[in-house]
Amino acid sequence: MSATTVPTLSGDRAHHGVRQPLSTSERWGAVFEYLLVVYKRTWRGSIIGRFLSPLFFLLSMGVGLGSLVDDRAGGVDGVPYLQFVVPAIVATQAMWVAMGESTYQVLGYIKWNMGYHAMLATPLGVRDILIGHLLSIVGHLTVATAIFMGVAALFGGFSSWWALLSLPVAVLTGMAFTVPLFAFTARQEGDNGFNILFRWVMTPLMLFSGTFFPITQLPVWMQPVAWATPLWHGVESSRMVATGDVRWGWLALHLLVLVAFVVVGWLLAVRSFSRRLVT
């Protein structure tokens, strides 16, 4: 069955003539909504992965290694090893989620299924796409972190309710990676850059950013490297709020560094997205 005329609709935006412009939140909201529909189709696969890999770290490092550390050294600075390492794994997991969400999928929308190009043919612009997509990653980070924290709490990974503050800290840490990564991804032609990133940036960061032991255990020359990376600041902040050992000046500084990564990343991302998509 086929219609002989093209249907028209009443309503400002579905009608010929000058349309009512979209508000900012309608624009990024439409992008967010699209990614939500995509997530509805894929959440089962991602949730299992997000649950299992930090769980393995929790069991091996927190419980396995932890009992050794507690027996021999009485924890780290008096804190049981599990409670020392869990808030840090929370922040580290956020980094991995950020990596997963800001690489292949983003390049796919640029290059493979060209979803961003479809959006740019509509009233949406580069900034709308970026905001909508970045907010959807805030959602991913929140869900992933909440699940892991729930499991870790069952294992006794937290000593107080203050640990709930590790959640926003982890989300901020994740975004401190995500936003600059968007800028990086928009400059890639293929996935070679991602392999290098995973192997030579993320893995060393996880090992040397104070996740499993304080960076003061590192050789002195290596410590400034940790200061320059977002992960160490995320790990330190998360650990402070979770263990209740808050030094306010330091906490403020750590959070400021994370915010700076987001802000600078945003400027770079707008530039590289515009260069790549609006040619």
């Binding site: 086929s2 005329t5 935006r13 959006m119 612009g125």
Partner: protein, 313 residues
């Protein structure tokens, strides 16, 4: 070139230019499209058609010259213009993991249509695109023709006043092309202005009221398909094939027959107003081609005459 003036002009370009570094993809072209018209850009790959379409679609900044849609400047009113355009890109940009109808709903939301509007509109458009019984299926396994029809349905979600189609039927089989042409014809009859690019002669002749022929970023001719054929070609063409490596050798033997002879690697084209008569002269000279065929002149002949090359290599 025929000039187009009047209040009903939806789209106009003057000296429109697109450069990528030192390369001038579009080199100062002028054209105007009237409301309700089907306007085509005909040319080989690399002629600058897609670059032109991307500028018209307000996704690619203009490098030089002036471009106006609905009287608005894409540089300052891009979103407002795009709200009134429908775009069918050269490559489908559907989300193949989602269903047919989800693709329509999502796209409608990009234009700020309410969820209710999007749903009723999607149902109508699926009917128009003859995809109603596939509404809940994933896009990925659909045929190329179905995906193309879905892309067209999607481009209509906002009731566009101008529909931009970049090589709408490239890569489709003949039957799928005819279905698509039929849908585009209906759109045109309902008053939608069509702007399309193609490197298929038959497509341009079928769909376009008026077209420009592009080559190396420039417009080399403009008019209706019939005008172009009258102006740059003869009414009929006699095609002669010989058993030869090089058809140049036979070109001399047919000189004087018809108005003009084009030499292609695999055949000679004799341009004449009466093909049968020309064939009789060839025969009377004792020339014995492997085959001879009389046909109507097409836009392919126009292009060949203007550029010395065939369109699809």
């Amino acid at each position: 070139m025929a000039s187009v003036t009047g209040d009903d002009i939806l789209l106009s370009a003057t000296g429109l230019t697109k450069t990528f570094g030192d390369f001038r993809a579009v080199d100062g072209i002028d054209f105007a499209v009237r409301k309700g018209e089907a306007f085509g850009f005909l040319g080989p790959n690399g002629a600058g058609k897609s670059s032109t379409m991307r500028m018209v679609g307000c996704v690619s900044p203009v490098s030089g010259g002036e471009l106006r849609l609905f009287g608005l400047d894409p540089a300052t009113d891009g979103p407002a213009i795009r709200a009134r355009l429908g775009v069918v890109p050269q490559r489908d940009t559907l989300d193949e993991e989602l269903t047919v109808e989800e693709n329509l709903w999502i796209y409608g939301r990009y234009f700020g249509l309410s969820r209710r509007e999007v749903r009723s509109r999607a149902a109508e458009l699926l009917d128009f695109a003859q995809l109603t019984d596939r509404a809940g299926d994933r896009v990925e396994p659909l045929s190329g023709g179905m995906k193309r029809r879905l892309t067209i349905a999607r481009s209509l979600i906002n009731s566009p006043e101008i529909l931009l189609l970049d090589e709408p039927t490239t890569g489709l089989d003949p039957q799928a092309r005819h279905v698509l042409w039929d849908r585009l014809f209906r759109l045109k009859r309902s008053g939608v202005t069509l702007v399309l690019t193609t490197h298929y002669m038959d497509e341009a002749e079928q769909l376009c009221d008026r077209l420009v022929v592009m080559d190396h970023g420039k417009i080399v001719a403009e008019g209706s398909p019939r005008q172009l054929i009258e102006e740059y070609s003869t009414r009929e063409v006699l095609e002669l094939r010989f058993d030869a490596e090089d058809h140049k050798d036979f070109a001399e033997q047919v000189t004087g027959i018809g108005k003009r002879v084009e030499v292609l690697p695999d055949r000679l084209l004799v341009y004449t107003d009466d093909g049968d008569e020309a064939a009789a002269v060839v025969h009377s000279r004792g020339i014995a081609p492997l085959s001879s065929l009389v046909r109507r002149a097409t836009l392919e002949d126009v292009f060949l005459h203007l550029t010395g090359r065939t369109l699809v290599d």
